[in-house]
């Protein structure tokens, strides 16, 4: 399914932060997890996650450390900071408000097809 760009962009930050709240991770693994969570529907362009991660680091929400992968390659790992966790909580509350509103109307309207 083709998801609108705005929606993908808006959901990117809370998704990444939430995935990082599960534990330290790196770019490729985060993208894989997003795929898993959305059942393959959310297909992000791989390269785009890195500017996002850098922006989150710049804002202080995540912290990057260089480590080693299983094969011994240099790899940048990201972990959530306390500021990041607070920001994630704020975003979560906002999304829950939106979700509640939409759920309210969809539950009543979704099963009633419009008839002329």
């Amino acid at each position: 399914m083709n998801i609108q760009k705005d929606l993908v962009a808006a959901s990117a930050t809370p998704l990444v932060l939430a995935i990082l709240s599960e534990g330290e991770s790196y770019g490729y693994a985060i993208i894989k997890r997003v795929g898993e969570l959305s059942g393959g529907e959310l297909q992000w362009t791989d390269g785009m996650i890195y500017p996002l991660l850098h922006r989150l680091e710049r804002n202080g929400f995540v912290k990057a450390v260089w480590g080693k992968s299983e094969t011994g390659r240099r790899r940048k790992y990201y972990r959530l900071t306390r500021t990041g966790a607070a920001h994630l909580a704020r975003q979560r509350r906002q999304w829950q408000v939106v979700d509640l509103a939409l759920r309210g109307i969809w539950l009543t309207a979704v099963d009633t097809p419009s008839r002329p």
Partner: protein, 455 residues
């Protein structure tokens, strides 16, 4: 395995392709590469062969333009090329640091050298004779340090060091032992032309002794232009510094002017010669040259000026009023036009076909030549009235020198525009002509005093 080697090759190509983007630093490319490799591994495990896995992984990574655009949005400051004079880490940085230490050391030495004559009682503002001493020997005290900087940086061979030192001894002897008349024209002329002669011999060190090489000569021309711009900027900054120093010390009742005039300005000006050269070399491959940019800006303006001047001359019928200062003025005009031409040549891709800017430049050169020929003609009529004083001869000589250069340049340029010859012929002409300037400078320094009896 050959498959792995092929993959490594492809990844290497991909890496250099990504590295070229300004918005992406090498750490970012490293991160992306790790991602790419993880993707390739995962796809290989899923059953794709290595070629396919690589292609799919690259496609999934995203189009280079969009990725670098995202990075550029994030790191907008990277779009301004920053000169990192002391890069962090790696072998290149230790070389850069050593060079910085040498440059700073030589700058301090140049500043000290400027003050050494004071030990012998020669002060810069004491008497006319002392001021003239400084004028004569300024370049001898400072430029050798610049030559040493380049000789060191380019690892000049021992023979080269000897060749560098060769002109210094006769220059020093000439400037100080010949019986110049105090305040005479030959002395001032020699003092003005000696820096030019020595500047071209610094070029020998710059080219690491390969002064016959035309590319090296053109590189030296490029360096000279950038050096001049950087020096001017440093001088302006230094001027502001001095003004503030005098001002704030004055606020607490201390007079900083003598200190500024005796120490800061001379030593700063001397040291800045080496520092400016060091900065130009450091920024060489990172920042665009500024001289050609200024050339592109000013060539149209000067062309318009000259064309209007010629039109005005024809319209009003006024002949050029020939006085002594006029000849020097026209010399400067020709020097300016030559610089505009030279720096446009230095930045132009010699393979590209003739364009509008080339036609504009040809117009500039031709109008400058026309103006100069008219001036010389007007002067020839009164040459007997003038007589041959050192100043007039020097000005005339320079004028003829520049005239020949620009005339043949115009011919070559016209041939290039008519597509009958290549642009490199014009480049070659300019670089071949440089020794002529050096020869002329040395003639004025060494022969003029003798010919004109030290007037």
């Amino acid at each position: 395995m050959t498959e792995d080697r092929a993959l490594e090759e492809r990844i290497g190509e991909w890496r250099s392709y990504f590295r070229r983007r300004q918005a992406l630093h090498s750490v970012d490319v490293e991160e992306l590469e790790d991602h790419l490799r993880s993707q390739v591994e995962a796809l290989s495990e899923a059953g794709l062969d290595q070629d396919e896995a690589f292609l799919v992984a690259v496609k999934r990574l995203g189009n280079l333009d969009s990725v670098s655009r995202e990075f550029a949005n994030e790191y907008s400051e990277r779009l301004w090329k920053q000169l990192v004079v002391a890069p962090d880490g790696g072998a290149a940085s230790s070389v850069a640091r050593r060079e910085a230490r040498v440059a700073i050391g030589l700058a301090i030495a140049a500043g000290a050298a400027i003050k050494i004559p004071e030990l012998f009682g020669v002060r810069i503002d004491e008497s006319q004779e002392d001021t003239l001493f400084y004028l004569r020997n300024m370049s001898l005290l400072v430029l050798p340090f610049l030559a040493v900087f380049f000789a060191f940086k380019r690892r000049l061979h021992t023979m080269g060091w000897l060749w560098l030192a060769l002109p210094l001894v006769p220059a020093a002897l000439i400037m100080n032992l010949l019986p110049f008349h105090v305040g005479g024209q030959t002395q001032v002329l020699a003092a003005i032309h000696l820096p030019i002669a020595l500047w071209l011999s610094v070029g020998f060190a710059y080219a690491a002794g390969r002064w016959r090489n035309h590319d090296q000569r053109m590189n030296y021309v490029r360096f000279s232009g950038e050096w001049f711009i950087y020096y001017t900027l440093i001088a302006l900054g230094g001027g502001v510094l001095v003004l503030f120093t005098v001002f704030i010390f004055d606020a607490i009742g201390l007079n900083a002017e003598p200190f500024a005039a005796r120490w800061v300005i001379p030593c700063g000006a001397a040291g800045a010669v080496v520092i400016a050269a060091w900065l130009v070399e450091a920024k060489q491959s990172v920042i665009e040259n500024m001289a050609p940019v200024l050339t592109v800006l000013f060539t149209p303006l000067f062309t318009v000026l000259l064309v209007i001047f010629v039109a005005a001359m024809i319209w009003t019928g006024n002949a050029i009023d020939v006085r002594r200062e006029v000849l020097i003025g026209f010399d400067l005009l020709l020097v300016l036009v030559l610089c505009l031409l030279l720096y446009a040549i230095s930045a132009r891709d010699s393979q590209s076909p003739p364009g509008r800017f080339d036609r504009l430049q040809l117009l500039l050169v031709i109008s400058a030549l026309l103006v100069d020929v008219l001036a010389l003609w007007a002067m020839a009529a009164r040459i007997s009235e003038f007589g041959f004083s050192p100043n007039k001869t020097a000005a005339l000589g320079l004028n003829l020198l520049l005239l020949v250069n620009l005339a043949w340049s115009a011919v070559l340029y016209a041939r290039f525009l008519a597509k009958r010859s290549s642009f490199s012929a014009l480049e070659r002409w300019q670089t071949s002509y440089l020794p002529a300037f050096a020869a002329w400078a040395w003639i004025v320094v060494a022969l003029f005093p003798v010919i004109f009896s030290y007037r």
